[in-house]
Symmetry: C2
Subunit: 289 residues, 2 copies
Amino acid sequence: MKIIVAQNAGFCFGVKRAIEIAFENVNSKKGKKIKMLREIIHNAIEVKKIKDAGVKCVNKIDDVKPGDSVIVSAHGITLNEEKILRGKNARIIDTICPYVKRIHNIVKVLNLENYQVVVIGDKEHYEVKGITGHSGQNTIIISSKEDLKNVKFDKKIGIVSQTTQNIELFKELVNYILDAALKQGISEVKIFNTICDATYKRQEETKSIAKQVDIMIIIGGKNSANTKRLYDICKEILNDVYFIESEKELKKTWFKNKNIVGVSAGASTSEYSIKNVVKKIKSYDGEKQ
Amino acid sequence: MKIIVAQNAGFCFGVKRAIEIAFENVNSKKGKKIKMLREIIHNAIEVKKIKDAGVKCVNKIDDVKPGDSVIVSAHGITLNEEKILRGKNARIIDTICPYVKRIHNIVKVLNLENYQVVVIGDKEHYEVKGITGHSGQNTIIISSKEDLKNVKFDKKIGIVSQTTQNIELFKELVNYILDAALKQGISEVKIFNTICDATYKRQEETKSIAKQVDIMIIIGGKNSANTKRLYDICKEILNDVYFIESEKELKKTWFKNKNIVGVSAGASTSEYSIKNVVKKIKSYDGEKQ
């Protein structure tokens, strides 16, 4: 079997940076206890490493006590959460991805300039919650055409995207929003393509690989939005696509009669995980011979 | 024959206003000769009335002499033309449509804010020449998908439209521009729908009428962009569409075996012209009986 591994798979700049910042702080500690507000990235192995180093992961901001040191996740936090943390005099260990922070700044300015902010993304994702926590009241979150049905725009619109959005879906939804806006007499629409470059390259390369192979393996955390999108992109191209968290989920039967295997991975998947998956797939080949 | 006449056909606010301003000045005159820089609107009858009142129509700015009073057309002039006129100490009789002036202001600001200005419109039309005469170097004019082929965007983009653009074409071209921009890594696109409300309503009503009739008559100046667009819109819906300047061009044979006739007209077509056309169509009916 030939195996094609995406060059742009695995940890992106923002994820690497977040882990580095976390470990720098965990290692130095300065005699303080460190908490982590929600999982820093969607990678169970890396999160476990941080927890094993003595960091407690809390999901609610109430669990942060005055004076705590708190790792805030790469996906960002809302302005309100930031206020609460500052109110508690917590030391914020900021691992927020700079590309996500850029969106926070864009929506803050859009809101100040009286634009109605529209976020193209998944409303359950913490990155989107963080963004809408900076964009003021009346922010609209759109993840599908259906979400537009009951939307009433009442002023000029500013559109941003979750950093890990599927570029094709982004374009499609921008078109629907434009259409709805024009019908409702909105005369100004400002669009920011805030999909990060790593996401874009990863999606394009994964798409290109999917077109050349018999089976596609996508590696990433089950709750990782960007990995799920890679899976969706491949599913539009071929049937045999599998979304796994680690090599343990691989099944030998998947590879029966397959000649070329494609492997890609989300932004929060380590090089190590990818290598393990590739190694196991290769081992099936050996067994066959 | 039943005749349906578009309620939104004929002189728009900007055209009415331009004619009023012209005649106010022609009538008062204040002892000065008045020139008209290009035809004030695309309506031969109205232009003739103004000429008959003693106004000379000049096409080149060189023909304006120092101290002349000059009617500038509803479609607008470039910043450079304005400078030259002021340099000649000409008295400018400004009939520029306020909706067109709004575009001048938008593109001036876009240019100052370092946006690459894209105008969706017809590059031969004086409204578009006026707009690009306010938007700085490197303005791009797009009238069809083909115009985008060799366009290289190098910074954030600001899109405006000619006021009389076809709304469907505008949306289509915005989508193509967005697509090209995303592929070229442009991360910010600002879109202004500057199609004027009168145009939009006229197009929508004309489209709706075209769907109900057997034959459609469109009245307007042959060089009127907005009238040509009404014709194109109808042609997509039915075969029997005729573009005429006045009732003199009507042919009785067109109406043979037709039960319902639709009539619409461009923004520079007078109520009087529309009435004459309707009257003549009705007369055919009488002749038949």
